[in-house]
């Protein structure tokens, strides 16, 4: 695989232009190769008969063998089976790695061979499957259920590194729609092994990290939503007049949280390395479910936005999540999160903190319930909210005051509008 | 040999009871060392084991010259000093046995006895290493505004170390309240003083530091006590350091493992045992002062009983718990500092050390 740009580390053979086993002249186009920057036509460095090794669609590291250019009548090396990987360049100058063999003659298309490496590795008796790989790559591959033999290494001496495994995972997903061959599981029936998308992988890691490392506690509170229901009905009318979307309960909750976070900097902070990091901006993440993942786009400076601005921003972000146009910056920088399962009729639940945030608010459904109001039993709208807190930064009394303030704001929703 | 001060030149001793008490400790040390040798050979005492038989008089004499608040530091031949100081023989024997009740809790062994309560801050194992530390203890006393002094014992071998010169220079330069007591038993291991020191009259070396030095007959308990008292008083009152060289003889080898006859003749040893045994000399003195032979006999029996009880105590004392292996390596509270060092530790280190009281 030729290096066709300064930053190119690997390339994909988009298509072969020259025909297999036919002669080419120096300068003839051989193949179209996609680099990290563009598709480039690769021309023959010298004449000969082309004997393809790599196939169209193959992605190979720079230096990998893609074809031989043979002299008339010359045979390709008998072991000219596709080499899946080869070092990019004669790597180590410090003698720590075994020296790479020089190309046997100057005419082999740019790759050098990794034959001797493979022989050495196979000689270790690993059924021929063993390749050089970093411990991390081995772990990732094993977690993803990908055999190392299916992966091409791009590291020194052909070592398989993290990036190679990630690429292989991505390819596997693209090739098979995210599925790999199911493995038999006699007791539980046939199990389908679904490979995680990167986002799912990230969620798995972050959530596990949160549960494993955060000393968490939760507070639960009933919020009187009677006034909020009334206000929202009025907002709907106004929205119709303005021909815009009406703020949802969730938007009201985001606004209430934003104001409360401004007053409680620890709830808007991060515990890290034995210190509190108190953020100056109030950026609230709102959990949005998609078919395959849960994303948390961020409403920036939520404390400075009006309820109408929050409503339009949250709709824009949720839309971007659903049509997959959401960008990484829109998903980062959150200082607090709100997760709402009220629309599914869930009464109450506990959410997992989204590290490195200090807390997350889990919001249940707004529903009518029997409550004692002004000394009498009455049917009023209420909502259960549950705050999960990282006790390393947000302590019980602080958290209670924070939650109480949110509750008060929602009970007197005009305070959210002015 | 230059003239020695001896007890006939100094004031007569106080009452016989006190002398008898000193005799009691002389024979306790002798008895203890003999038992230690037996126990070592029975493999119940390990490591090095340096006996002080023959040196009892200068040991007891020097210790008895100390005031209650003075501090004592010695080299590794230290069983006698602990016993002379009054550390119970049971705690010393338990230490030699490596048991939990040992005076160093089974961590020090023969060379590193100590008794903080009685002002004995250690037997130290590197020849000469204790000399600067003793100067530092004297400096510490001065800084505390204390009027006490330090008595630092060393062997004749230690005077040729660099630490000797550095420590004596500091002691003189800073006017530290300290007396360096050289127990010259004629041999540093197997090397006779004359083969090791260009100036074999070791007390004269003090002059190089403008310091007072003198020699005393180390087999004469009262002479050692008197000289030592005088120099310690001077150290306390005038902050004037001094060197006292006590001439004595070691009956046994350098350690239990050394028969002690390759570098000296059996005749020489025999001569000392017969004519220069400090305990026999002290007995004669006591008898001449009217002490009854039965009283001496009773003292010897009492010493033998104490040693037998010490062995029995040491046998009963449990070995230190494995879970205490790292106790005392660092001050209490250091465990917090070490908490983040556990990760990636050498194999077994977590259980052996971190979980065994490190910094607890």
């Amino acid at each position: 695989m030729p290096r066709l740009s300064d930053s190119m580390e690997q390339g994909t053979i988009v298509r072969w232009i020259a025909k297999d086993r036919e002669p080419v002249q120096r300068g003839d186009p051989l193949a179209e190769i996609e680099t990290d920057k563009a598709s480039v036509v690769y021309e023959a460095d010298h004449g000969g008969v082309l004997e393809r090794v790599a196939s169209e669609g193959d992605t190979l590291p720079v230096g990998a063998l893609i074809a031989h250019l043979l002299e008339e009548g010359e045979q390709a090396p008998s072991d000219a089976a596709p080499r899946e990987h080869a070092p990019r360049e004669p790597e180590p100058r410090d003698g720590r790695e075994p020296p790479e063999p020089e190309p046997r003659d100057g005419r082999e298309t740019p790759a050098v061979e990794a034959q001797e490496h493979e022989e050495q590795e196979q000689a270790r008796g690993d059924g021929g499957a063993r390749r050089r790989s970093s411990p991390l790559a081995r772990r990732l591959a094993s977690e993803a259920g990908i055999a190392l033999s299916q992966i091409q290494g791009s590291g020194p001496g052909g070592r398989i590194v993290k990036a190679d495994v990630q690429q292989a995972m991505q390819r596997a997903q693209e090739d098979e729609g995210g599925r790999v061959a199911p493995r038999p599981s006699p007791i539980k029936g046939e199990a389908e092994t679904v490979q995680l998308t990167r986002t799912q992988e990230l969620i798995a890691r972050r959530m596990a990290e949160a549960k494993a490392t955060i000393p968490e506690f939760t507070l639960q509170s009933e919020v009187d939503m009677e006034a909020a229901v009334a206000v929202r009905d009025q907002l709907k009318v106004i929205a119709q007049e303005r021909a815009t979307a009406a703020p949802s309960f969730n938007d009201l909750i985001v606004k209430a949280c934003a104001l409360a976070l401004r007053r409680h900097p620890k709830a808007n902070g991060t515990y890290r390395d034995g210190a509190f990091h108190l953020h100056s901006a109030v950026n609230i993440g709102i959990a949005v479910a998609t078919a395959e993942a849960l994303l948390v786009p961020v409403i920036r400076d939520a404390d400075r936005l009006s309820i109408w601005e929050i409503a339009s921003e949250s709709r824009r972000l949720a839309g971007a999540v659903r049509d997959r146009s959401i960008t990484p910056p829109q998903l980062s920088g959150g200082t607090f999160s709100v997760s709402n399962l009220g629309m599914y009729g869930v009464e109450a639940f506990t959410a997992v903190i989204n590290p490195p945030q200090a807390a997350i608010l889990a919001v249940g459904a707004v529903s009518q319930r029997a409550v004692v109001h002004d000394g009498e039993l009455a049917a009023r709208h209420g909502m259960t909210v549950t705050l999960s807190c990282d006790h390393r930064i947000l302590y019980g009394a602080d958290a209670a005051e924070f939650l109480g303030f949110i509750k008060d704001l929602l009970a007197q929703p005009l305070r959210l509008l002015v | 040999m230059p003239p020695l001060r001896n007890s006939s030149q100094i004031a007569p001793p106080s009452d016989a009871l006190q002398l008898l008490a000193q005799y009691q400790r002389l024979v306790l040390i002798r008895e203890f060392e003999q038992e230690a040798e037996r126990q070592y050979k029975a493999a119940r005492i390990g490591g090095y084991c340096h006996l002080s038989s023959g040196q009892e008089a200068c040991t007891v004499g020097a210790v008895d010259a100390m005031a209650a608040c003075d501090l004592l530091v010695t080299g590794y031949r230290c069983h006698g000093f602990a016993l002379a100081k009054g550390t119970p023989a049971a705690l010393v024997m338990a230490e030699l046995f490596g048991r939990r009740d040992g005076c160093a809790r089974g961590r020090g062994g023969s060379m590193h006895l100590l008794d903080v309560e009685r002002g004995f801050l250690g037997g130290w194992g590197i020849v000469g290493g204790q000399l600067p530390i003793a100067a530092g203890l004297a400096l510490g006393l001065v800084r505390q505004g204390s009027s006490s002094a330090v008595l630092c014992e060393l062997g004749d071998g230690a005077v040729n170390t660099g630490a000797w010169h550095e420590a004596l220079n500091l002691a003189a330069l800073w006017h530290l309240p300290i007396v360096y007591l050289i127990i010259n038993n004629e041999y540093g291991m197997g090397t006779k003083v004359e083969r090791a020191s260009s100036q074999p009259e070791l007390y004269r070396r003090a002059a190089a530091f403008g310091m007072h030095g003198e020699r005393v007959d180390g087999n004469d308990l009262l002479a050692v006590q008197s000289a030592c008292e005088r120099l310690l008083t001077r150290a306390r009152e005038e902050r004037s350091p001094a060197v006292l060289e006590a001439l004595t003889y070691r009956f046994r080898g350098h350690s239990v493992a050394d028969p002690g006859i390759s570098y000296r003749s059996e005749e020489e040893i025999e001569e000392h045992l017969r004519r220069h045994d400090p305990i026999l000399a002290f007995e004669q003195d006591l008898l001449s002062k009217g002490v009854e032979p039965q009283q001496l006999q009773a003292a010897r029996e009492s010493a033998a009983r104490s040693v037998a009880e010490a062995v029995s105590f040491a046998e009963r004392s449990p070995a230190p718990e494995l879970s205490s292996l790292a106790e005392g390596v660092y001050a209490s509270g250091s465990d917090v500092q070490f908490a983040r060092m556990r990760l990636g530790s050498p194999f077994g280190e977590q259980e052996l050390v971190f979980d065994a009281g490190l910094g607890r």
């Binding site: 411990p135 991390l136 | 801050l121 100067a135 006393l141 983040r340 060092m341």
Partner: protein, 339 residues
């Protein structure tokens, strides 16, 4: 708490590393009568590297005690005084001369508490600078902190910034065990913000992430940290590589946790030291990393140290020998497969 008090506790000053050390000594001497200094030229001469300048005038000769050239003697004297509960701070002019007192440090100070069954302590501080780079040649250009850090019973810290210099020296003086505070010739003149709070301490046994990054972890201490930070800047500017710099700060106790957290995140590590790497600090760190982060490593742990020769005098040879920014950068690129 009064406003004035609050101001004072939050105030910082821009000080050199040398001044930060001096401030630490001064504050601790004022706070605790038991603290006193001893060493060659600490008094009248005001310290070979001027750390103790002005302290003789302020505290007098009993507390700022000039010594003869007797490293074993006055280190031992410090040990003895510490055994009685004094808080001696011994200055050894450079770490090269500490070898003369090696017996006192290793065979004595480190052993006292354990050997005597925990009944006597030794709250001694030894301050000494290490380092090469000033054409001081073979006998005066060495870094031996690894030897001491390998000795149970001792604690060893090696601050790389003025703030850490103040906080760690103060923590060392207040510690109940013998602590070797390794300073550095080249950092003495470096400036930084230093908290003026007289109770500002840096905990012993805690490393710091001196700079956050995501592609590779550079683990260093003392002057190597200063170099590593410069390399990280360069890599960010010129190569768009995000290097995290972990400053060990304490060598014993060693904060492996922070190193492992960093390497688990970046998957690659380059360990740097100013001393000889064989059997050195980086050897220890690399061993810990391979054990703690085995499944997170995407490349072998790389080490950079001073060339393993007695340091030559000629400037070009010395420059080639030290773990320069260029060499550290090359090692990082190699680790990332970019060389």
């Amino acid at each position: 708490m009064s406003a004035a008090q609050l101001d004072r506790e939050q105030a910082e000053a821009n000080l050199t590393y040398r001044e930060a050390l001096r401030l630490a000594l001064r504050e601790e001497m004022a706070r605790d009568q038991r603290v006193f200094l001893l060493g060659e030229e600490v008094g009248l001469f005001e310290g070979a590297y001027k750390v103790s300048a002005g302290l003789l005038a302020e505290f007098g000769p009993d507390r700022v005690r000039d010594t003869p050239i007797s490293e074993a003697g006055f280190t031992g004297a410090g040990i003895g005084a510490a055994m009685l509960g004094q808080r001696p701070v011994v200055e050894i002019m450079t770490i090269n001369f500490l070898l003369i007192a090696m017996d006192q440090v290793i065979n004595h100070a480190a052993k006292i508490r354990a050997m005597f069954g925990g009944q006597v302590g030794c709250p001694l501080v030894i301050r000494t600078p290490n380092g090469a780079g000033n054409q001081l040649t073979a006998q005066h250009s060495q870094c031996f902190e690894g030897w001491f850090a390998g000795t149970p019973g001792l604690k060893v810290v090696a601050p790389a910034s003025p703030a850490d210099a103040k906080g760690l020296l103060k923590a060392a003086i207040r510690d109940e065990d013998p602590v070797l505070v390794v300073e550095n010739l080249s950092i003495y003149k470096e400036r930084g913000e230093v908290p003026l709070d007289p109770d500002f301490l840096v905990p012993i046994g805690r490393a710091a992430v001196a700079r956050e990054g995501s592609d590779v972890s550079i683990v260093a201490h003392s002057f190597a940290t200063v170099r590593a930070l410069a390399v990280a800047d360069r890599l960010a500017d010129r190569r768009d590589i995000s290097a995290e710099v972990v400053d060990l700060r304490s060598l014993r106790p060693l904060d492996v946790q922070t190193v492992a957290d960093s390497v688990s995140k970046t998957n690659r590590a380059v360990c740097v030291e100013e001393g000889w790497p064989s059997y050195g600090v980086t050897a220890e760190i690399a061993a810990r990393i391979q054990h703690a982060c085995f499944d997170d490593l995407d490349a072998p742990v790389e080490r950079v140290g001073i060339a393993e020769v007695p340091l030559p005098y000629a400037k070009n040879l010395e420059l080639a020998a030290v773990p320069s920014e260029d060499r550290i950068e090359a090692a990082v690129l190699h680790t990332l497969g970019l060389s």
